[in-house]
């Protein structure tokens, strides 16, 4: 039975699209059939992060409006044939996406894939509520920073109220993915620790993605870290998170980028 997962956060810029792409690749590499959907109508970016921006012909809204067939809009990844992308539309019409349209596409995708991962736009408006509407599980991406944690708390409340599962009296399984974590700064008391965030949000932890130069490098290249540099800290964090989604019991660690001795001694990040 396919699982529909929403990647959400409330706040923008915390790593929803990066995490959707990296987890999609990780799950596909672990043998799963995966589709990732961009729900950010008007501001699509998942195509760019996946390096598929020049292959977009039809989009999500073309499918819901009957302009194109689902199979025409789905972009199969060239590197991994078990992974597909459904790009968002660039239309400026905010109401182009309807609940019926989303339901019909998700219902079809459930039959074709093991995982349907919905990349939510920031905010709590239509696009964000539609992205979570039919979710079985939710990944809440949070930075260890006050505004991100506050917005995550708000999104958790909305997941418990506005999803189809919540309305039926069922539960959307929630997972917290902490990104841009800097253990050294947390140890110095300069950044909220994992325990702080977990205590405040009381949501089970899916993974800890360290702050890393590899993440920007990956989006520059259009190849998620889990493709491009599977040994890097963030990639290992995403692989562990993907395994946990598959039900494996994996010890929680904070993978770091392997550094040379020189790097360890002198490579402390400026800023």
């Amino acid at each position: 039975m396919a699982k529909v997962v929403v990647v959400t956060s409330g706040k923008g810029g915390v790593g929803k699209t990066t995490s959707t792409a990296a987890l999609g690749v990780a799950l596909a590499k672990l043998g799963q059939n995966v589709v990732i959907i961009d729900f950010d109508v008007g501001l699509r970016n998942l195509d760019l992060v996946m390096g598929a921006e020049r292959r977009v012909v039809y989009d999500f809204i073309n499918v819901t409006q009957g302009v194109a067939k689902l199979s025409q809009a789905l972009i199969r990844d060239k590197r991994l044939d078990r992974l597909a992308l459904l790009p968002a539309s660039q239309t400026r019409d905010k109401d182009a996406l309807t609940e019926e349209g989303v339901l019909s596409v998700i219902t079809s995708l459930r039959k074709m894939f093991d995982w349907v991962i919905c990349d939510s736009p920031a905010g709590i408006e239509r696009g964000a509520t539609l992205a979570m509407r039919f979710a079985d599980e939710a990944i809440i991406v949070t930075n260890p920073e006050v505004s991100s944690v506050r917005d995550s708390d708000r999104i958790i409340g909305i997941l418990d109220a506005k999803t189809v599962r919540a309305e039926r009296g069922e539960r959307v399984a929630k997972h917290l993915l902490i990104t841009r974590y800097d253990q050294a700064r947390a140890a110095r008391g300069e950044m909220l620790t994992i325990d702080d965030v977990l205590e405040i949000l009381s949501t089970p932890l899916l993974g800890i993605v360290p702050e890393s130069e590899e993440v920007l490098r990956a989006s520059n290249l259009g190849a998620p870290v889990t493709f491009n540099n599977p040994g890097s800290g963030p990639a290992r964090a995403y692989f562990d998170a993907a395994r946990r989604l598959l039900g494996e019991d994996i010890e929680m660690t904070i993978p770091t980028d392997k550094q040379s001795l020189f790097g360890k001694l002198f490579g402390r990040r400026a800023a």
Binding site: E145, V146, V149, R150, D153, R154, G157, A161, A186, R188, G189, E190, M191, L192, T193, D196, I200
Partner: protein, 99 residues
């Protein structure tokens, strides 16, 4: 940066944690009931509006939260020229005395 600031640095995370804990405790308390008030307001408006003409903007619904009991306060302004509206086939005059 003076020496004092140098020693003071590094302690900002506990401040962040405390601020968040206080803020979220407050915001969570507000979340449920405000939703409840919204639903109550809509339903009360619908019921009253079936019988008398009311201006939805002249309606206030609020909850005064106390330790042991809370008071739900509903204030609906009814114009002096109250007209009974036909309700479900039955003719029924709303016996409303404007205060």
């Amino acid at each position: 940066m003076n020496l004092f600031n140098f020693f003071k640095r590094g302690g900002s995370a506990p401040v962040a944690r405390d601020r968040l804990q206080i803020l979220l405790a407050y915001e969570r308390k507000g979340q449920g009931p405000s939703e409840l008030l919204f639903i109550l307001r809509e339903e009360i408006l619908a019921v009253v509006g079936r019988h008398v003409e009311i201006n939805p903007e002249r309606v206030t619904v609020q909850m005064d939260r106390g330790d042991k009991v809370s008071i739900l306060e509903v204030e609906i302004e009814v114009p002096n020229t109250v007209r009974a509206q036909p309700g479900g086939g039955r003719k029924k005059r709303a016996a409303l005395r404007p205060a």
